[in-house]
Symmetry: C2
Subunit: 304 residues, 2 copies
Amino acid sequence: MLDYPLLAALAAVIRTGSFERAAQQLHVTPSAVSQRVKLLEERLGSVLVVRGQPCTGTAAGQRLCQHVEQVALLESELRGALPGLAPADGPTTLRIAVNADSLATWFIAAMAEVPGCLFDLVLDDQDHSAEWLRKGEVLAAVTASTAPVPGCNSHPLGALRYRATASPDYMRRHFADGVSAAALAGAPCLTFNRKDRLQVQWLRLALGGMAPGDVPAPPTHWLPSTHAFVDGALAGLGWGMNPEPLVADHLAAGRLVELVPGRPLDVPLHWQQSRIASTTLADLSRAVLRAGRRELHPDGTAAG
Amino acid sequence: MLDYPLLAALAAVIRTGSFERAAQQLHVTPSAVSQRVKLLEERLGSVLVVRGQPCTGTAAGQRLCQHVEQVALLESELRGALPGLAPADGPTTLRIAVNADSLATWFIAAMAEVPGCLFDLVLDDQDHSAEWLRKGEVLAAVTASTAPVPGCNSHPLGALRYRATASPDYMRRHFADGVSAAALAGAPCLTFNRKDRLQVQWLRLALGGMAPGDVPAPPTHWLPSTHAFVDGALAGLGWGMNPEPLVADHLAAGRLVELVPGRPLDVPLHWQQSRIASTTLADLSRAVLRAGRRELHPDGTAAG
């Protein structure tokens, strides 16, 4: 078996970002934590922690850290079954990858249904969140990816509906003569980050099956925050694909308008979860599927 | 002089994240972009782009990209002075580092006052945003750091006020016997990411000058989103340091309460901007300082 006191010290440093906070969490001195991590690094012959502000794990360090958390999760199950065991060191932490727009609209309701569990959320684009699962860095992910990651189950959640929205003033400035391909090519849009393809997907849809190379590439602001997207649209900075739940009131009140009324973009989402036997993870999965059914739009894949 | 058509191709690939989108932006074929980047890499003898989904710059690639954008900014100034020059390829993009809480509360109002300019925002903790400026990756930053970065001017903005907040139900569950050090040590809090020290700073303040090693280290959720912090507090997941502008209504309505009434934490912010001669950047700086004066709390350093 691996040396778990050493591994626990490593995981605490990587998760808290500092030797001091890890020491506090483990109720030992920072120098004890430092010795344990050094010993582990010597045994493995590789650096596991990049010392900095904050301290971060190397690829090997991250992998070990993930292993420690999976073992802790299994231990918490065992304690449920065998109450005579020594009490746990603390509540279980589930590391989950989720797209920012789900977090901003429906995911927190699911989290709140699993009390007594701590969450460590990794935010990534829905087209990339499954990679965290594939790398073993999270236990579950909200993802656009339908193909199950090896070792995981995949469940359809329904679709998050997006509306291409801008302020009325912005529409007057850029689309006084209508929302044409030429006008779209010159009107600034909002893009979350380099992974965000939603604006391009909507342009292709709205312009009716244009070849990818012909779809206009508008000038863009890079704005990596879901609510900043809404605020940026309200302030007239540009148009962007905003989740319907966040803009429905603004649309009804006329503070935002759709570029092309009645032309939403639906993004089907899936819940992929590790098959690791954990009642906490199973509880979360049930809560997530319930919240998805409640808050998302049923879509074609939901029947599959 | 450097070979700018090659550099422009490199910058477009790194900024858009793909050879195809770079080609579209530059109105050339993807193969032409690919050849230009390869030629540049051969001349420099180092890889500049990590090919992937999305493509990203290596450290050298990022540095060249930043140079191209500074030159483009200087060119846009020149075009203002000499209208006879060939028209610009597109609007100027300003790359700025800002903390997520400023973006969520007051920064977009400043951005909206500088029309005709595109923004490329990098989000980072206020204690770390100045590093982007130091590395030359952004032209300006909203930062907690007072010491001017070399080559930059620093202006005090005022302080963003935070309130330690939780839901009434959460308070009943965890602080029925009062907000003591012992109760705080067991009650889950929210932490944005490994760089976020606000909860610890507030604990130290609220518990009256405790030695750093004695401040409780509560169990925590990791929740890297400003609005998810507010939503997480409302849902009873934990307590967290929330920006006053986002929770004032919730506090007034009793949906959230302060852990210790009337014990806020003020975080003084500064605007640090590169001394590069740019009227666009100067316009933004004036708008940022105005928005800061309007939306932030005057603090001691504001008089300096």
